[in-house]
Symmetry: C2
Subunit: 358 residues, 2 copies
Amino acid sequence: MFDKYQYIQVNLEHLKKNYLKLKSFLNSNKTICSAVVKANAYGLGIKEVSQALYEVGCRNFWVTNLKEAFLVRCVSIESNIYIFQGINSYEELEVIKENNFIPVVSSIEQLNLINLYVKDKVNIVLNFDTGIGREGVQIEEIKQLNLEKCKIELIMSHLSCSEQKEHFLNKEQLDLFKNIQDLFVDAKFTLANSGGIFLGHEYHFNMVRPGSALYGVNILEDNNDVKMLNVVEFYASVLNRKIFYKKQYIGYNATYKVNKGDKVLIINAGYYDGYRRILSNKSMVYSKGYFLPVIGIVSMNMIAVNANALPESLFKKIKSVELIGEKITIKEIAKWANTDQREILTNISSSSRRIYIK
Amino acid sequence: MFDKYQYIQVNLEHLKKNYLKLKSFLNSNKTICSAVVKANAYGLGIKEVSQALYEVGCRNFWVTNLKEAFLVRCVSIESNIYIFQGINSYEELEVIKENNFIPVVSSIEQLNLINLYVKDKVNIVLNFDTGIGREGVQIEEIKQLNLEKCKIELIMSHLSCSEQKEHFLNKEQLDLFKNIQDLFVDAKFTLANSGGIFLGHEYHFNMVRPGSALYGVNILEDNNDVKMLNVVEFYASVLNRKIFYKKQYIGYNATYKVNKGDKVLIINAGYYDGYRRILSNKSMVYSKGYFLPVIGIVSMNMIAVNANALPESLFKKIKSVELIGEKITIKEIAKWANTDQREILTNISSSSRRIYIK
């Protein structure tokens, strides 16, 4: 039933090595390395990824919502599972308490829900907005916080520009976070996402929360000391090989013209599979030493690539190509697609078979 | 477990009406209306969509691959199920024959596979490239075709510019297809996709193959005679409501600045959910009469919207917003995202709950 040449390979060995490498940057006496496995572990499979990270010692996981929290609970009964979306109804509160999940409280409204319904105490992460704007209690609201029904496991904030080392907001957020630290003397603190880890020890506090770096997203300039190993490879198969009898257009809207004699491979992946339409006439695929340019508009389930570079024998036998992997990196695809590497990762369709390398 | 305010609603009543409307454009004595349900029915759910279309008389379905063919077979034992990717291995051929699926043959290589392995005959669709370039046997190869092991159910080709009514390639492809018609006197023919249907009866032949129009994609200028009903609505819930105490940035990379007193809603959908990152600082969401602009960078699981337009009481109570639907059309989103409507449709994540209106 499955096409044996189309699949997404997730290298859990590399994932583990990335986790351990990130951990090696920390002061191990003070800072714990957790893992952000939200959004189905950035699209790669939350159960498989959490299991692999558990095997190398990770015991703190961050997820988007309750559904994901349960998937991580299946992997580990004793781990701390933090839910970014927090508590948004009485029903959620009940389930969270019963299962010892730890909600992130990002607003007074969420805190009120706790104060209204909880009899004893609930473990929480208290989230402050030090500059991301998006979520988190504003610092001006600190005095309004009624925390008597909460046991604060962690105080967190989130960096907005951590991938731009020199951005003035990093230092500004750090200083604000330190001010908060002074107000909660017994608490533990967490600020750094992947980018924050590379900003130095000052940003690490009691826990760091890498996400994208675990999955092989390399933000910094290529430097072996901080280079993360690639985790995802995406292969698709050759559906058809054509040698054109005449000059003609190829693909929707006639955006590219092939010449007589041009060799073209039709590959069975398209924007439905997460191979974005913006890559039309821009990107390349790779096979056996050759980089082949995508020509014409990316279709829903197909792309065409110019295969003139391939020797005749290879053209006839080639079964599959790499769309994303060691040769065509996520970073390169993101550049061609004019977006962030994480969007490429999370949009690889779950319609393709996944193979996990352990 | 589920967030009751976040879901994708698929209106199967509208889908059925769209099918019947498209059918009404055909000469019913001659032309059958099939349905393209490939790519999981453009992301909407192949089983539910096929079932609904079956209920209004559709008996001809086009799918991407074997896996999808089986899903449609669960809906209808007697329907014709055409597989676009055709036969690509001996194993597939066996399964296709056993289950009476009808493969599209798009190359001599695929035909050779049939000739090599089939003892009796296999029903096929023979696909010619009249100008799409992508897939299909080239016209110059007609004399090389050995069709003795095939029973040709249909001869097809695919239009490349059907959505541009005046494009010269439409007529050119039509003429080439008619030439092929002269060579296969007893066969039945199919050329038109959704766009082709609106090019007129000449393009309809024995069967049309609408896909996107069924799902509410409106290509033509708004004209009630040809307007398809909207099928998809995408709602997300309000995670947090903020009134800012000071001027500050919001979202990653500090791309937007809110003012003191600005009201902002944080919505729990982001690019992981198919709400594309390119919509950052560009698109709008809708709720109860108000259009609210997305501000800052779209995050993986969140967006922020400026809610200054909302009356105080509504700001406090609002539970969810429309991301895509009657007010924020797929067409509008595709324009903001600078892509095709189909990419918006097929990339709405399967992570969101789907509700089917019957």
